[in-house]
Symmetry: C2
Subunit: 233 residues, 2 copies
């Protein structure tokens, strides 16, 4: 670590996570995890994100299995797909004020989706750095397990809070090893809220139909109906 | 463990993995990992598979990063997607004769694809059981790391051995966060080998075109050209 101010910043972040012992944190890795590729094309957090993406999937699987030993695995897969989505990971990141520790070149033009990705990717990179520091979940499970439990419970009670297309896809993959297909039609003659009609199919089986003012909202509406019917039903 | 013959069988399997210490294996979990849902709808390996799927992704990420520190992350993602595919995991499973330890109701009618899934799923379940035995990779890394390195090197030299559609998708996801789209046309007027023509697109960008005697082979041919051009090029 070159810079003692940066070191202080990283220590402050680790304290925020509430880790009792910081002795085993690899500070160089954590520094890298909090360095965006807009700062350096070579020394940035993209590879740690590649590891961290698998870390959060693994911990989420463990936590869901331990918390809901009786739940069907298709349902746990669906909940996990939402738990590890950019949207949820960005919420976790924001709750620790992660953006304040990230070194990056600010594009004032960045849209909401870009901000969510940035936070989620950085969060995954931090998980990658903490995992590689000890080769286990010792620096992660203590603070992330309760977050995954809380959020998992909310999603389980109402997956509508989140993304039904992801949830449905995770379900059909786990159960049938195939992906749902969407067929969308536009009809200019109807009310704007029903302009698009999406059908979701699983091979030859029509699962559900939904409407919306955009292709995306129509697909989400169809996915929601299908998910509630086949997965949560 | 109810049955001492089964216990012997499990110990024999663990010895095959070449593990120096078996003391930390959770034998009940390993027994469950080697019990297919055709034997019991309740006590089977599906939940361990859910954990194991994340275990192999994580270890593959670690191994690829350590082995190819200079490779672009998009390329490592593409290699990983092939490494964790059913086809490769089934090969790993077969090399340990995993099918001999699996309790399941044999369907003599099972096709090749079904056998590959069965082996790959069981392999993941075994990884889940070994991971949960110690909460780390201690029972897995010693034997799986060299297999991932060998296979990873083969894939890196010639991804043609494996599945280009998966590889391309992993690449576009990692680099652009979008999926490639395939547009296929059938033409009955041409040679059988060129009956189907598939174009692969990334949003508005036409990546490549391929032909084949089926929709699937045409898509693979298009994916191969695109992957070699954008990812490995």
């Amino acid at each position: 670590m070159k810079d003692s101010r940066r070191q202080k910043q990283l220590e402050q972040f680790v304290q925020k996570l509430g880790l009792a012992s910081e002795a085993s944190v690899d500070w160089s890795l954590l520094d890298l995890a909090l360095t965006h590729h807009s700062i350096s094309r070579k020394e940035n957090n993209q590879k740690l994100e590649f590891v961290g993406d698998a870390v959060v999937r693994l911990l989420a699987a463990e936590v869901l299995l331990a918390t809901y030993p009786e739940a069907p695995v298709g349902e746990l897969s669906a909940v996990r797909s939402i738990l590890v989505s950019d949207r949820v990971l960005a919420q976790f990141a924001a709750s620790y004020g992660l953006q304040r520790y990230l070194l990056f070149v600010n594009h004032s033009s960045m849209n909401k989706g870009g901000q969510i990705s940035l936070l989620a990717d950085t969060f995954e990179a931090v998980l990658g750095a903490l995992y590689l520091s000890t080769q286990n979940m010792a620096l992660i499970a203590p603070w992330l397990t309760p977050m995954l439990q809380d959020k998992g419970e909310k999603i389980r009670r109402d997956p509508a809070l989140e993304n039904y297309k992801d949830a449905l896809q995770e379900w059909t993959q786990a159960e049938y090893k195939i992906l749902p297909e969407y067929r969308v039609q536009e009809n200019q003659q109807v009310l704007e809220e029903e302009r698009f009609t999406a059908e979701v199919w699983l091979e030859d089986r029509h699962l559900a139909t939904g409407n919306g003012r955009s292709k995306k909202t129509a697909e989400q509406a169809a996915a929601k109906k299908a998910f509630l019917a086949v997965a949560a039903g």
